[in-house]
Symmetry: C2
Subunit: 341 residues, 2 copies
DNA sequence: TTGAAAGCGCTACCAA
DNA sequence: TTGGTAGCGCTTTCAA
């Protein structure tokens, strides 16, 4: 390799007959320097394409300028938008992001945490796995003085700031919309009740029914475990074949709604005329189904960005006590699958 | 913050009455040390949860253990699988990945390159934007002795190893499959002819027709510019309304095929009975359309992993001359949209 | 087989 | 307003 020796700060100091400290201060715009010196050094550095060695800076400042980020699975559309938002915001603030997937398994999440710690990240952004029911591995960050921000999928076992979507409200609105469209027998393809988001959506659904005086039937709330298209298909089949089939389905996520849609189409049920359908998360695919799928948008990009800012705030303030939960609003997107009129 | 002072290598040396160099050598399993000392140091380090400071190591070794990765857009399913594969492989080899998106714009790609360079990455993985017709900004990496590997979307303007999918062969197989199914009037919803992947697929399509003696009609090959569902819909409409409508469509990507499918369904054309349909890339959604969409899988995970290995190889060998192109096989996935029988 | 010590590039403290 | 200089934690020569 060409091995071009890079110019260092010391080189500049020598060439300019200044001390390294002065050059350093000039480059970092210290208040006490003369405007003259600052200009001299800055223009010289620019003209000789001096680039500070980031490794040296980080080493000296005892930080890595890197944030760890753990998500269940990055191929999930929502998480990829979340990551995208976090990356942009981190970059703008001089940080980079080290990304790891937990594949929704506690075991992998623990490994990921240890890995990030060993890589010396300055803080952690995490959306926990479905299996996470304790948080020792995350507490380890706090113990080292490294802030953590949880987003979307959170655990109460770790005292850190949390950023969530208002799942309850999103589900409430989705269900209310179905009611407003004239549906009365509304089922909910739910998730695991020990996963907070799923539980909140369930509660929002239930409350909406209650508030408009629609009876709630436990048997209309099957629980998906893996949250797949296949489960959506299968549970919808069971529901539709029961003696009292529903006339609308509110699904915990778009993928499940897609399964429901596919089953309904397979037996020739008209959507939305005979059965209404609403999903959750605004997956890319929901725009392109036939009919298009009504859903609840979670603003993933914004969430990733906001979570990063919350983490950077802690890094700046050097305070770790905060364990507040910030809620982001959702937005109901009404598309063809639930629009009778 | 609690500010727990971390144990350093020097601490261990003192506590064990050894010199720092010996401890360092023991931890890194140097050949010349006595087995005894190695064991002593290693177990002591483990018991006192010593973790080497990665910043110091990188600084000392004048590297960052970080690879830059530029992709057009990470929310695209193919790229997110690619990233996933790269992340895993990098991690296994002690490297992390710094990810940036170009949003398919040269301007952003240039900024991304400069950013990665300033962050001191050791090498670059890149899938170039549609706009990239020169490579000065990438040459800058080579000039600094940092290896580059291009994958999927490549430019010939940079002499670096390249990893691509055999687009020609994939398109050839897809088209041949349609012919084998009995379709004879096969259109191709193509892309920009100045983008290599699109051009190769176009050539594969054409060659397949030629080899089986099926006439080629230029007017059956509209060119998408943005590669969207909307374009798929619109161009299919134009084709189907022409005096000589095709009986099959091979689409440059699944999203375009989805648009085609949606148009065909909207006018009541039966898929695959009346019109056959094949996409490209195996987007997640292609499994879940009705009917399910035949497509060409590109093994994104494997591609990301392989590209990373190619980059690490160069890092190890310290040689930058190589500009070979490695081709990965594709796999035709035959699903309902093209299965008459 | 082990130790001593220099030094990677930068920042920040203490002086002047 | 500027300079001198120690030192971050580690690796790696050179010497023993």
């Amino acid at each position: 390799m060409p091995e071009k020796r890079k110019k260092t700060l010391k080189d500049i100091a020598r060439e300019l007959n200044l001390s390294p400290s002065t050059v350093s201060r000039a480059l970092n715009a210290y208040p006490s320097l003369s405007e003259e010196t600052i200009q001299l050094v800055k223009s010289y550095a620019a003209n000789h394409q001096y680039v500070p060695n980031p490794m040296a800076v980080n080493f000296r400042k005892n930080r890595s300028s890197t944030l760890g980020m753990i998500v269940p699975k990055m191929v999930h559309h929502f998480f990829s938008t979340t990551i995208s938002g976090a990356l942009e915001t981190a970059k703008k603030n001089g940080y980079s992001i080290l990304l790891v997937q937990s594949f929704d398994q506690l075991k992998d999440e623990i490994l990921a945490s240890q890995y990030l710690l060993s890589m010396g990240v300055d803080g952690l952004l995490i959306s926990v796995s479905n299996e996470t029911k304790e948080a020792e591995h995350l507490q380890a960050f706090l113990d080292e003085g490294k802030p953590v921000v949880q987003f979307d999928k959170i655990t109460e076992f770790l005292p850190s700031p949390k950023l969530v979507v208002d799942d309850f409200e999103g589900a409430y609105q989705a269900t209310s919309h179905l009611i407003a469209q004239g549906y009365r027998k509304i089922a909910h393809l739910s998730g695991r009740m020990d996963v907070k988001n799923a539980y909140e959506r369930y509660l929002g659904y239930k409350k909406a029914l209650e508030d408009q005086g629609i009876p709630f039937h436990e048997e209309w709330v099957p629980h998906c475990f893996d949250i797949t298209e296949e489960e959506g298909f299968r549970f919808t089949q069971t529901l539709m074949q029961s003696e009292n089939p529903p006339d609308a389905l509110f699904c915990i996520t778009d993928l499940v709604a897609l399964g429901a849609m596919n089953y309904l189409k397979s037996i020739g049920v008209a959507i939305p005329q005979e059965v209404g359908l609403v999903g959750f998360s605004n997956w890319m695919l929901s725009e392109f189904t036939t009919p298009t799928l009504s859903t609840v948008d979670q603003f993933g990009e914004q969430m990733g960005s906001k979570a990063t800012l919350m983490l950077l705030d802690q890094l700046k303030s050097q305070k770790l006590g905060n364990a507040d939960t910030v809620q982001l609003k959702t937005q109901l997107l009404i598309r063809a699958s639930s629009s009778k009129g």
